[in-house]
């Protein structure tokens, strides 16, 4: 399963909600305002490090660039739009 998160982790519960139901090893893609979860050193960085151990966490590079986020925490994989499409082809998706 591919879980899609597009809201800021500082303002929204969508990531927490997703984690309540996602099985370990599932894929999580952060895009739009969801990419802020991948910033190193933020208030959610500790939580995200733990998430990255249990899940495959991806972040959309185009949305990072647009928001001026040039650093991504370890354990999170940057992908582009083509990679996004690839993930969607391979998985059922859930948008939170």
């Amino acid at each position: 399963m591919l879980h899609l998160i597009n809201e800021s982790p500082f303002e929204s519960m969508s990531l927490e909600d997703c984690l309540k139901y996602a099985s370990k090893g599932a894929s999580i893609l952060l895009y739009e305002d969801g990419v802020y979860a991948a910033m190193p050193g933020s208030g959610v960085a500790d939580k995200m490090r733990a998430v990255a151990k249990d899940y495959k966490v991806y972040v959309l590079s185009e949305d990072l660039k647009m928001r001026g986020v040039d650093n991504v925490m370890d354990g999170v994989t940057e992908i582009d739009y083509a990679g996004f499409v690839g993930l969607v082809e391979e998985n059922k998706t859930a948008s939170w």
Binding site: M39, G41, G68
Partner: protein, 118 residues
């Protein structure tokens, strides 16, 4: 001159709020009002340096914040805890607002004739 404040509390591209907030600042500035600007919560992300919107078709409006001085808008503030909780520092922003603490926010709002949340 009426004291007016625009408060940015949302991230720049996930919704239209931040862009609309900037439009409001510029309009009120053009009418020669006593306008101040405050960045709190995800609003601090609106003035993050290094945005690259090439190929997205979406306008990067962060450079416009550097023009606020030309509108005589000099009272620009940012909440310290909101910067820190996002792992950022003052060097990460396109402008240099005055850093304030959360307990000053409400007082600042009360001093205004009106304030607007975006």
């Amino acid at each position: 001159m009426a004291k007016l404040m625009v408060v940015f509390r949302t991230a720049p591209y996930g919704s239209i709020y931040a862009f609309e907030g900037l439009e409001n600042v510029l309009i009120m500035g053009a009418y020669d009002q006593d306008v101040s600007v405050l960045f709190i919560d995800d609003g601090v992300l609106t003035i993050k340096k290094g945005m690259d919107n090439s190929g997205t078709g979406i306008k990067d409006f962060s450079p416009t914040f550097r023009a606020l001085e030309a509108y005589d808008i000099e009272n620009i503030y940012i909440d310290e805890a909101s910067i820190e909780s996002r792992g950022l520092t003052l060097e990460d922003f396109v402008i240099e607002p005055e850093v304030i603490e959360a307990d000053q926010v409400e007082k600042m709002m009360e001093e205004q004739k009106n304030f607007f949340m975006f």
